[in-house]
C-alpha cells in the first residue's frame, strides 16, 4: 500500500486528488536506463525538471489550503513523482515519492477512482504534468515510456478516453488538469493506424454520465506545446493555483467571493499569459453546469491598471482610486505611464484630476474584478 501525500478522515462528501509529475524518463536520452532506438522520432523528448516541482507545488497548495473552503473538504492527495536526474530532489533532500511509472499511475488511478466513488457529492481532482503527444487523442507519457521496444506507448496512457470514461463514474464534480504537450511527431504517425496507448478508464455504452460539474483544462491546444522555465513551476500550474487562490473569483448571491469552475476556465488563459509573458492558449473541456469549487475568506487581489486619454493628458493627470464608501482615496503623481497597482477586488471610484486645469477632472465607479482590470478614463481638454 503506497503512503498518501495527505490523508484525513472526513465524514460525508470530501475531495480526493491524484497528482502526477513526470520529469525523469528512464528510457529517453540521459534518463539513466536503456535509451530507446531513434529517440528523434519523438522530437528528442528530454528529461524535464519542471513537472515534479509543478506537481509538488499543486499538491502542497491543496494540502495547505483551508479544507473547509472547498466544495467538499480535502480528504486525500496521492502524489506520484518521477524526478529528472538533473533535479533529483524536488521535495528537498531525502524526500522521496512513489514513482510515476505506468503501473504506479494505473494503481493510483484505480484506488483514487474508488475513493471518489464513496459519495456522489465528493470532488475528484486529477492533475498530470509531464510529456504529452497527440495521436487520435492526447497520449500522456509515464516515466517508463519506451520500456518495451515493441511498443513504447505501453508506458503511456490515452487521456481523452480516460476522461470520457471517468465522466460515467461518480462523483458529480470532477476536475482534470493536464499540463503536457499535444504535438504530433513521426513516432506517433509512423505506426500503422497511428500510435495508441491504453486509457486508464474507458467509456461504456451502457453507463450514463455521472458528472454534472466538469472542469477539464489542458495546458496546450491540439498540435501545440506546453512550457515552463526549468526547475520552476510551469506557467499553466502557476496560473491554475492563482485562479484557485482568487484570480478566477467572483461574488455569489451573498456577495461572498467564490471560485467557480466556469470562471476558472474563463480566466485561465489570461493568467497563463501573465505567467509566460505571451499568449499560450489552453483547451477547455465539456464544462456542463458550473459549480463553486472554493470559497475565499475575503476579496482577492486584482492587478488594476489605470490610464487616461488623450495620451498627453496622462502625463498631467493625478490618477486615483477609492474603495467605495471608504473616503480614503489613493493618488499617484502625474507620470507618463499607465498606473499599475494591486488592490482588493470590489467597487471603486476611479478618476483623474489635473492640478494645472488643462483637462476637466473625471471620475466614475467600477467593479474591479480579478484577475486583472484595465480602466481608461476619457478626459476633455479645456
Amino acid at each position: 500500500m503506497t503512503r498518501m501525500f495527505f490523508e484525513a478522515d472526513r465524514p460525508g462528501p470530501a475531495m480526493h486528488a491524484l497528482v502526477i509529475g513526470v520529469g525523469g524518463y528512464a528510457h529517453l536520452p540521459h534518463g539513466g536506463g536503456r535509451t530507446i532506438a531513434d529517440p528523434l522520432r519523438y522530437g528528442n523528448l528530454g528529461q524535464l525538471t519542471s513537472p515534479p516541482r509543478s506537481a509538488l507545488e499543486f499538491a502542497n497548495w491543496l494540502r495547505e489550503s483551508d479544507p473547509i473552503r472547498w466544495a467538499a473538504p480535502l480528504a486525500s492527495i496521492d502524489l506520484r513523482i518521477s524526478p529528472a536526474p538533473a533535479d533529483p530532489d524536488p521535495g528537498g533532500p531525502g524526500v522521496g515519492f512513489p514513482d510515476a511509472t505506468i503501473d504506479s499511475i494505473t494503481e493510483a488511478y484505480d484506488a483514487w477512482k474508488e475513493r471518489c466513488a464513496t459519495d456522489e457529492n465528493n470532488v475528484a481532482v486529477f492533475y498530470f504534468c509531464g510529456h504529452g503527444l497527440q495521436s487520435e487523442e492526447q497520449l500522456l507519457l509515464a516515466s517508463d515510456f519506451g520500456r518495451y521496444e515493441g511498443n513504447h506507448f505501453r508506458g503511456a496512457f490515452a487521456f481523452d478516453s480516460t476522461r470520457a470514461g471517468f465522466l460515467q463514474r461518480p462523483p458529480r464534480t470532477q476536475c482534470f488538469f493536464i499540463d503536457a504537450c499535444r504535438e504530433v511527431v513521426p513516432g506517433v504517425t509512423a505506426p500503422l493506424g497511428g500510435a495508441t496507448a491504453d486509457p486508464l478508464d474507458r467509456p461504456d455504452a451502457t453507463r450514463r454520465r455521472r458528472c454534472d460539474h466538469d472542469l477539464t483544462l489542458q495546458s496546450s491546444t491540439p498540435f501545440a506545446t506546453a512550457r515552463s522555465r526549468p526547475k520552476n513551476v510551469s506557467y499553466f500550474t502557476a496560473a491554475l493555483i492563482k485562479a484557485l487562490k482568487g484570480g478566477a473569483a467572483l461574488t455569489d448571491e451573498f456577495a461572498d467571493w467564490v471560485v467557480r469552475t466556469d470562471r476558472i476556465a474563463m480566466a485561465i488563459d489570461s493568467l497563463v499569459e501573465a505567467e509566460a509573458g505571451r499568449p499560450m492558449p489552453t483547451a477547455k473541456g465539456p464544462a456542463f453546469l458550473p459549480t463553486v469549487l472554493y470559497r475565499l475568506d475575503g476579496p482577492p487581489d486584482v492587478e488594476l491598471t489605470l490610464a487616461c486619454v488623450p495620451e498627453p493628458a496622462l502625463g498631467r493627470a493625478t490618477l486615483f482610486y477609492e474603495p467605495q464608501h471608504s473616503g480614503r482615496a489613493v493618488r499617484t503623481p502625474p507620470m507618463p505611464e499607465k498606473w499599475k497597482v494591486t488592490v482588493k477586488a470590489g467597487y471603486y471610484r476611479i478618476g483623474a484630476e489635473f492640478e494645472d486645469h488643462t483637462y476637466d477632472a473625471v471620475s466614475r465607479t467600477e467593479l474591479i474584478n480579478p484577475p486583472t482590470t484595465a480602466q481608461t478614463l476619457r478626459t476633455v481638454g479645456r
Binding site: L40, L45, T49, G132, T225, S228
Partner: protein
C-alpha cells in the same frame, strides 16, 4: 545593424515564399547578429514587378516529366551539388555526404528542413542551425550505420540544457530536421539511375527563362523610367527605410543582394540613386562584373587599359564584398573591374548547375559570410 536582403531573379510569391523568406531572415539574423538576433530586417519583394509569362511558360520545352515529389527538389539540388556519381543508398545519403564533407551533410539536412519551417518557428530553427554549423566533424561519423543514427547522434550533440524554457513535448526544430530526412531519402531514391542535373532539367529550364525574363524586364523599366521604375523604387524604398532605422547605438546598414538583386543595388547606389548608401554591400552569386563589362551601368565607362583601369566602388558604399561559388555558372568576380571590392570564393563541391539557388539555404554559407563580415569590419 539593419539588414536589407534583396532577392535575385525568379523569386515569386508562391506558396513556399513566406516560409523561405522567414527561414532566410532568421538564418541571417542568427548567424550575423548572434548576440541578440534582433535587428530591423528588410526584404524588398520585386518579383511581382518583374517578368510575367503571357502563355504561362508554354515556351518551355515539353516532354520532361515532373520527377520529384513535394519538397524533394531542394534536397535533390543540394545532393546534386555535392554528389556527382550515383546517389548513395537511400538510408545512408546523409551519412555518405557527411563522411565526404561534414559541412555538406549539415547543409543537406538543414537546407532541406528549412523549406518546411513555419515563420513563427524560424528563429528557433535558425538557432539550431547556427549551433550545427559550429560543430566539427564528430568521431562517431566513422562508425554510424545509417542516416537515422546520424541525425540522432547529431541531435544529441546539438542538445543543450534548457536555460530559458523546457517544453513538455518535442523539439520542433529537430523535428523539422527529422522530417526533412524523408524528403532527402525520396529525392535520392528518384535520382537513382540518372544524373541529378538530368532529373532537374524541367526546373532548370524554368529558372533559366525566369532569369532572362527578370533581367530584361528590369533593363526595360530602367531605360524608360530610370529610378522611378517599379523594381528600382521597391528596392530603393527599403534601402532608405533601413538607413532611417539606424540608431546611434546601431549605426550600420548591411545590404545583402543575391544575383540580379546585386546588379540592381549596384545600379541604384552607383547612378540611379546616389543619395542612398550602406556600410557593407554583399553581392552574392551576382553578375555585376558581367553587366559592367557589357556597359549596362551608367557609372561604368569602358577602360582605356583593361589590365590596369578600375571603376571606383559607389561612393555611398563603405565596404563591398562579392561572393561567388566556383560552381555557380551565374556568379561572377568583380575585383579585376572595380576598386574597393573583395571577391570571396565559396565552393559547394561538385555540382555544376544548381549552386546559384542554394547559397541562402546553407548554414555553411551563412557561417562563412559571418566570418567575412567580421573581417570586413
Amino acid at each position: 545593424m539593419p539588414i536589407v536582403f534583396v532577392h535575385g531573379v525568379a523569386t515569386r510569391r508562391d506558396p513556399g515564399y513566406a516560409k523561405s523568406e522567414a527561414a532566410r531572415a532568421a538564418l541571417m539574423r542568427g548567424f550575423l547578429v548572434p548576440a541578440t538576433g534582433q535587428v530591423p530586417f528588410f526584404a524588398p519583394y520585386w518579383g511581382g514587378q518583374a517578368a510575367a509569362f503571357a502563355w504561362e511558360h508554354a515556351s518551355l520545352p515539353q516532354g520532361d516529366e515532373e520527377v520529384f515529389g513535394p519538397g524533394e527538389e531542394t534536397p535533390a539540388i543540394l545532393l546534386g551539388e555535392v554528389w556527382e556519381s550515383e546517389p548513395p543508398p537511400d538510408d545512408r545519403v546523409v551519412l555518405q555526404v557527411a563522411r565526404n564533407s561534414f559541412a555538406d551533410g549539415i547543409d543537406l539536412l538543414f537546407g532541406t528542413a528549412a523549406e518546411d519551417v513555419d515563420p513563427e518557428e524560424a528563429d528557433g530553427f535558425a538557432r539550431l542551425a547556427v549551433r550545427a554549423a559550429k560543430l566539427t566533424r564528430p568521431a562517431w561519423l566513422d562508425t554510424a550505420r545509417d542516416d537515422v543514427e546520424v541525425i540522432n547522434r547529431l541531435a544529441e550533440d546539438l542538445s543543450e540544457s534548457a536555460d530559458e524554457e523546457e517544453a513538455f513535448g518535442p523539439d520542433r526544430a529537430l523535428l523539422h530536421v527529422y522530417e526533412g530526412l524523408s524528403r532527402i531519402r525520396g529525392a535520392a531514391g528518384r535520382m537513382t539511375g540518372r544524373l541529378a542535373v538530368k532529373a532537374l532539367r524541367p526546373s532548370l529550364n524554368r529558372s533559366a527563362s525566369m532569369f532572362l525574363g527578370d533581367i530584361l524586364v528590369y533593363l526595360r523599366q530602367r531605360e524608360r523610367l530610370r529610378a522611378d521604375g517599379p523594381i528600382a523604387t521597391t528596392i530603393a524604398t527599403d534601402l532608405r527605410r533601413a538607413c532611417e532605422a539606424c540608431t546611434a547605438d546601431d549605426p550600420q546598414v548591411i545590404v545583402i543582394a543575391h544575383s540580379m538583386g546585386g546588379n540592381i543595388v549596384y545600379d541604384l547606389l552607383s547612378g540611379l540613386r546616389p543619395d542612398l548608401s550602406c556600410d557593407v554591400l554583399v553581392t552574392v552569386g551576382s553578375q555585376v562584373g558581367v553587366f559592367a563589362e557589357l556597359g549596362l551601368f551608367d557609372a561604368v565607362r569602358a577602360p582605356a587599359n583593361p589590365a590596369t583601369d578600375r571603376i571606383p566602388k559607389p561612393p555611398g558604399v563603405d565596404r563591398w564584398i562579392n561572393v561567388f561559388d566556383l560552381n555557380d555558372i551565374l556568379g561572377f568576380a568583380t575585383e579585376r573591374i572595380f576598386d574597393g571590392v573583395r571577391d570571396f570564393r565559396y565552393s559547394t563541391g561538385k555540382g555544376a548547375f544548381a549552386a546559384h539557388s542554394t547559397y541562402f539555404i546553407r548554414p555553411s554559407f551563412y557561417d562563412r559570410l559571418a566570418t567575412r563580415l567580421r573581417e570586413a569590419s
